[in-house]
């Protein structure tokens, strides 16, 4: 099997942590954003990658986390760390709620995708129009540095915390690949009827998957709110994050441990690299980005992880020839 070992994951996380400490300014900011998107994508990957339930509405979880973080702190004076825990729990709860309604009625495939999209849109509209969530003006978190506020003058600490969450995401995915529960997920992705016939409690498995998925993506939302200190309905529940999450996971390799992380790093890194190409023509960089994306998807339809593996397998063969 070509599954990554736990030690490999640890090396990757430590390496990223070391890189984190060498960064500052724009690159540091970019890497924080990469980790947030990677985490959101890891959440998507549990449901969309392993369980085969593609969601177009992970913004619902992301937004739940972000708003929990912002509302609890600004309205109720809750400590940032406590708010973080509640935000993650809320993500799981929202996941369970959406899951209960859609899995009970057996929604899957494009119907499930549409229903998640609808939930996210409803959440966006509600958040945009109620005073409790700050309405269309959004919520501004107070800038105050210090460990209890989960804001740091030296943002490398924040990056390490984000990286810590990504590490948790990696471990959860790794565990899925090694556990009975993960096997159930893959079974129902491949053939739900067969899985059911073999005694898998499909409903319970799906519910657990969407709750874990929601919690991870909500954690990304919490970190987003805490990093940018401003959210509004379009940021928290906007379709952009649903797209980023599924994009990163699919480009990186859906249903793989490292896929979402690699996808987020490559996509956002590519976006930054092409930025320099925009001289004179606004948006030129985005076009180049688009072309590279199309090419990468065309040549590695199973994700970059698979591409790397196939390249990795070929390389020693060449050596042997030589």
């Amino acid at each position: 099997m070509t599954r990554p070992r736990l030690a490999t994951l640890a090396i990757i996380v430590v390496a990223l942590g070391v890189i984190a400490f060498a960064l500052s300014g724009a690159l540091l900011n970019l890497m924080i954003f990469m980790m947030i998107i990677a985490l959101a994508a890891q959440g998507w990957n549990i449901l969309g990658g392993y369980a085969g339930l593609s969601s177009f509405g992970h913004a619902a979880f992301f937004g739940a986390g972000a708003y929990a973080m912002a509302v609890l702190q600004t309205r109720f004076g809750v400590n940032a760390w406590v708010a973080l825990v509640i935000g993650i729990a809320l993500g799981a709860l929202v996941g369970a709620f959406i899951g209960f309604l859609s899995f009970r009625s057996g929604l899957k495939g494009s119907y499930f995708a549409l229903i998640t999209l609808a939930f996210a849109e409803v959440a966006r509209i509600v958040a945009n129009s109620t005073n409790f969530t700050g309405g269309a003006a959004g919520i501004l978190l107070k800038l105050q540095n210090g460990l209890p506020y989960l804001q740091f003058a030296d943002r490398r600490y924040f990056l390490l915390i984000a990286l810590g969450f990504v590490a948790i995401g990696l471990v959860v995915s790794w565990w899925l690949e090694h556990s009975r529960f993960g096997a159930y997920l893959v079974a129902l992705r491949e053939n739900e009827q067969a899985a059911q016939a073999l005694g898998v409690d499909v409903f319970a498995v799906k519910m657990k998957a969407i709750a874990i998925s929601g919690a991870l993506t909500a954690a990304a939302g919490c970190l987003y709110a805490q990093n940018y200190l401003f959210i509004d309905a379009n940021v928290a529940f906007g379709s952009w994050i649903s797209i980023e999450a599924l994009f990163a996971a699919i480009v990186g390799g859906s249903g793989t441990v490292l896929g979402p992380l690699i996808g987020a790093i490559v996509l956002l890194g590519l976006g930054e690299l092409t930025k320099g190409l925009s001289h004179g023509i606004p948006g030129m960089d985005l076009m180049v980005f688009g072309v590279i994306l199309v090419l990468s998807v065309a040549f590695s339809p199973n994700g970059l992880v698979m591409l790397m593996k196939s390249l990795g397998l070929r390389a020693p063969a060449k050596e042997r020839e030589a």
């Binding site: 724009a26 900011n29 509209i125 003006a137 606004p282």
Partner: protein
């Protein structure tokens, strides 16, 4: 993977060698030219607001050219200004990222922001580096209410603008013999439209206007027929719209098609109400539309020059150009007064002094304790014929208001 910025390749070494040799060869030249003052302009160059960002850039570039041609920053021995444009891509995270990049580029200050969401995250990013940030037309009051020492705003905020808009509406109505009794509010459901509708709902009734309906719609909206049919049934004397460009145009055209003829359309920060593109493309629908918005002093000769520059580039003039032109002018004065490109000194100079407001009709710009320009005010404009004329206040007015427009 990205190459480490500090690593040296053979080519870089060669290049710097060449540069060094030429520097040694021309020592006189080097001494004559003091280090340029880098100034960052954060604008949406791509994305949904790309048009605005582009117009802003033209204004800022014009001002930089003007200042450099007049001998640069005198207090720094004629140092030239160097404009570095950061693309906020019309969204908040990219705005923060672009600010980080401007910081890495070593700018002395950042100007711009354009939209409130972008300005909120970007000013915050800049505050980590004590990097002075002068916001342009992002109007959310909260931008200057977070106690960030580095953050200033040149343009009027939301509360200031609506106060002026209401005052002038009352004056307009009184001068015409009070033709307006009923008002309908049509607004987009975002920060800007909802905020405005809320203020209007509070403030209009005490001033003697009856609000017959408040209609919200999302952005983007592809069809305004239902909204307009509702307006036709209500037949209000005045329509107060607040939406972005496309929706505004759509509504004005649908009003025209459905022959809904209120006595006036009075926008506050109207998306298209003071846009030459709208006037040019739909002159009939635009006739008589009034707006209370950011607007350059129409009587300044520079306004005419900027308009020419924008038109010559095949673009339609809008307020972004004069604002960003003036922002650069204010920044240059701040550097003159600070006598240094040092960030802390620029912040100090911005907070302590009065500045000429370029071609914005603000008299002397003076930033208050929170960093808001206390002298900023919007102007009232009306589309008359093929032009947009300032109708209030009297000292900037080019024309008398045509009101009521439909008998």
């Amino acid at each position: 993977m990205r190459r480490h910025p500090k690593s040296l390749s053979r080519r870089t070494v060669l290049k710097s060698g060449v540069a060094l040799t030429s520097m040694l060869a021309a020592p006189g030249l080097l001494r004559a030219e003091p280090a340029p003052v880098k100034v960052g302009l954060l604008q949406p160059i791509s994305g949904a607001f790309a048009l605005d960002g582009d117009l802003a850039k033209i204004g800022a570039e014009f001002a930089v050219k003007e200042i450099n041609e007049a001998g640069g920053i005198k207090a720094l021995g004629g140092a030239k200004l160097e404009l570095i444009v950061g693309d906020s891509r019309s969204n908040a995270e990219a705005g923060a990222q672009a600010t980080e990049e401007l910081q890495s580029a070593g700018v002395a200050a950042v100007l711009g922001g354009f939209a409130s969401g972008i300005a909120l995250t970007a000013t915050q990013t800049a505050s980590r580096y004590d990097l002075p940030f002068v916001v342009d037309c992002a109007v959310a009051d909260t931008i200057t209410e977070r106690g960030l020492k580095n953050t200033f705003r040149f343009n009027p905020n939301f509360s200031m603008a609506t106060a002026v808009a209401l005052k002038n509406l009352v004056k307009l109505n009184d001068d015409a013999g009070k033709p307006i009794k009923t008002v309908a509010i049509v607004h987009e459901d975002g920060l800007f439209g909802s905020g405005l509708a809320k203020i209007m709902q509070e403030k209009l009734p005490p001033l003697g206007f009856q609000i017959v309906e408040t209609i919200a719609h999302p952005t983007p909206a592809r069809d305004m027929t239902n909204v307009v049919l509702r307006l036709r049934a209500l037949n209000p004397d005045l329509i107060v719209p607040s939406h972005y460009f496309n929706e505004f145009v759509l509504m004005a055209r649908t009003l025209q098609q459905q022959r809904v003829r209120p006595k006036g359309i009075y926008a506050v920060f109207g998306g298209a109400a003071s846009s030459y593109r709208f006037v040019n493309e739909f002159p009939e629908a635009a006739q008589g539309v009034m707006d209370c918005n950011h607007w350059g002093d129409p009587k300044s000769p520079i306004t005419a020059k900027l308009r020419e520059t924008v038109t010559a580039a095949g673009k339609f003039y809008a307020y972004n150009t004069p604002i960003n032109y003036s922002l650069v002018k204010v920044f240059a004065q701040a550097v003159e007064k600070a006598g240094s490109a040092d960030r802390a000194k620029i912040i100090e100079a911005l907070a302590a002094n009065e500045f000429d407001s370029g071609i914005m009709p603000y008299g002397k710009t003076k930033f208050d304790a929170k960093g808001q320009n206390a002298s900023a005010l919007p102007l009232n404009t009306q589309v008359q014929g093929k032009d947009i004329k300032v109708i209030y206040p009297a000292e900037y007015a080019e024309a008398k208001p045509v009101f009521p427009i439909n008998g």
